[in-house]
């Protein structure tokens, strides 16, 4: 090394001295992230009973609910609008609307009404953000309060029960040993990834998220694109709500509690950039798998709900720190 340097000994000293300074930060932090995930997976798989059938089935359903919301959240994140805090409440309220509609005119009607309701509810927020240019975080917090307020006012008893036998047996079972929820989740991820990768709308979404002004300047219809992102986010979120309602034959606003937070954690762990313009449904899928695995592990280790929040919080914190330090200069 030294003899290659033409400018003499002092430069060589300088070079040796400087070598310590040249740790590539981005690389170090991305290594740290990978190691963190590997350690986490090791702890998860080492948990007694994790690889047993009941806990795997529980994992596959848990991940599906979180995952569908995370896919919706990913679309919002990619569109450059960071996060929505109203998706958990949307899960709850969609479950209620779905059961009411099913009780009235049957499962098929309930399904259509539930999906439409959830999509429009979130799409309306998208309209506020895309067209009125309101702050996305404020809009989602306002929507959260509105949804809780209205449901409290109208559903006094809290829980709505489905009429017995209203759901066909086929939607409550398994296909080839795999819970139907998980199949829906995989399908959702595929559909979302198709939208992102292969449609004009998906491409517009990345452009708007990457640079709103540049997208405007090349003629992308920005408000329609953002509204579209929220419509789809609502669609995937309401799917989670409907699946929950089918599973428990009931709906309650509490069903949605913490789903938005788990979804945010899943999006971040998956590595979707919080600033927008970058990300994928596949990443949301992977992130949801990690978060759900942690939750199942904590349950198996006998830790209560509170510890799950704590764990999710710590994971998000770690990811945020790693992402910020890794990409920042």
């Amino acid at each position: 090394m030294t003899e290659r340097l033409p400018s003499g000994a002092d430069s060589a000293v300088a070079a040796a001295d400087l070598r310590w300074m040249r740790f590539d930060r981005a690389r170090v932090f991305s290594w740290a992230q990978s190691i963190g995930i590997i350690v986490l997976l090791a702890v998860i798989f080492a948990t007694p009973g994790f690889l047993a059938k009941p806990s795997i089935l529980s994992f596959l359903t848990t991940v599906s609910f979180i995952g569908c919301v995370a896919i919706g959240m990913t679309l919002i994140t990619i569109s450059g609008n960071i996060m929505s805090f109203a998706l958990g409440a949307t899960v709850g309220v969609t479950a209620m609307v779905f059961i009411l509609a099913s009780n009235w005119l049957g499962f098929g009607f309930g399904l259509v009404v539930g999906l439409l309701f959830g999509s429009l509810l979130t799409g309306l927020q998208g309209l506020m953000i895309g067209w009125v240019r309101a702050n996305p975080i404020i809009v989602s917090i306002a929507a959260l309060a509105l949804i809780y307020g209205l449901t409290q006012a109208f559903a006094e008893k809290g829980t709505i029960y489905a009429d017995p036998g209203i759901f066909p047996a086929s939607v409550k079972g398994k296909v080839g040993g795999v819970p139907i929820e998980f199949i829906m989740f995989v399908l959702s991820a595929l559909i979302a990834q198709f939208i992102l990768s292969f449609t004009r709308f998906g491409r517009n979404l990345f452009m708007v998220g990457s640079s709103f002004r540049a997208a405007e300047a090349v003629g992308v219809n920005t408000w329609r694109t953002i509204t579209g992102a929220y419509l789809w986010a609502g669609f995937f979120t309401s799917l989670a709500g409907i699946m929950l309602a089918v599973r428990y034959d009931a709906a309650n606003m509490d069903y949605g509690v913490a789903y938005d937070y788990d979804a945010i954690a899943a999006v971040l762990v998956g590595g979707t950039a919080i600033g927008g313009g970058h990300g994928s449904a596949v990443r949301a899928f992977a992130g949801a798998m990690v978060i759900a695995a942690v939750q199942v592990m904590l349950l198996l280790r006998g830790l209560r709900q509170e510890w799950q929040y704590l764990a999710a919080g710590l994971i998000v914190l770690a990811v945020i720190i790693l992402q910020a330090r890794g990409s920042g200069r």
Partner: protein, 516 residues
Amino acid sequence: MAGPGLGRSDASGGQFLQSVLSVHGVSKTYPGVIALRDVSFSLAPGEIRALCGENGAGKSTFVKILMGIIQPDSGSIAINGQIQFVREPQQAQALGLGLVAQELSLAPHLSILDNIWLGSTEVPFLHRRASFRMRAQQALATLGLADWHLDRPVNSLSIGQRQLIEIARLLAREARVLILDEPTATLSDADIERILGILKGLRAQGRSIIYITHRLGEVFELCDSVTVLRNGQHVATQPVSEVTREHLVEQMLGRSFKDMYPQAATRADQGIRMAVDGLHVPGVLQDFSLIAPRGRIVGIAGQIGSGANMVTRSLAGLVPSATGSVTIDGRPMRLGSVPRCVARNVLFVSDDRAAEGLFPQMTVLDNLVATRLDASSQMGVLSWPALRRLGVSLAERVGVDRHRLQSPSTTLSGGNQQKLLFGRALASKEAGVLLMNEPTRGIDVGARAEIYRIMRELCDRGAALIMTSSDLEEVVGIADIVITLYRGRVVARYEGDGIAMSSILADITHPTQAIA
């Protein structure tokens, strides 16, 4: 201690004054790229040194090494004869180096005083001390700005005035070597004059300046000597008096300087592409009219604040308050919506490449095809092979390496990024209207010539081009028709041989006559 950098004198080393800054054999390699190779450099007190080179020549790497933002792989830096290992910008500051970066780094809502001391390591926790106030006032006075009030918020200042605050910030920290990275790129002519005058004053006080610019006029007006870098290597350092403009461009390009501007329009006039009548933007632009023939470049000249850039922005559909009648090929077009304008093939290249042009997280390919998604999709579903083919052909036509198509767009140099934006305009099948603000701002000579070539290619296909530029040399060199603006009103219109630098300059600074 005699630094080794002084042992081997470089081309400017005739002076016997001790160098205030001496760089010896600095190299820096990034994965796959040699950014700097064995560059030596020394700067005397009271010297203004121009640092020239194409984008990617290594200028910014050099500056970052001086400021301790990155560390060199080898080589040494001596400041006032002492070898220093500059590990971080704060240390560089303490050693008397100061940088005014290309992008302003002021906090707009804070006062001038706060901005001057922002980020200084000298300032204790409670900083409102009289001594800091006094030193800030002195710094302003050095710049001839003693009458400015320190408590004025920075957002009440013009861009040119803000640039002066950046310089005052360095002076307040007692910088002996000021590094200015294209300080005039965003300024109007009047502001440029003022800055150049102030810099000459600083030289008289014995401060040294490293002046990075793409504008050769400023090199000859302001600087004592010029260092040229090319492909990370030192090409030459010479007194300005011993070099000609052509020679300097040749050193930067590494090849002989052929005519920078392509031939004027050759194609016969084929009628009017775009006609604008009574364009009005409240408070900015009044009763502007324009006729843009096919195959011609219309240049709109005006200082910052003249409304010139609002003409193009309005016609691109980016200004909701713009009114006026616009026809394209005889058919009317409504203003105020970009998608509507894009549908009529009216495309826009912004002067703010970073914020309004590029999609930073996206690849070169995705950036190139951004305006042509419709043509490569069916029922809203994109065809990746079609997009790829389009991207490859566009990359070839604008002269961007096709192997970079999958790289993030931010890894390209400024000149290549600008070529991407022009590639979008080439992508459309039919020739339309291309609106450009400052088409060559902040890009090097080589890329500049490429951009002019692309502009002429668009003309040959029958497009009408409308551009604004604060670089008058460029307006005279490339435009077929020139319209001058002063404070939102048209002053005059010139065509062909009638286009002359002197009358344009006179129009945009002190209009004598106004024709509607």
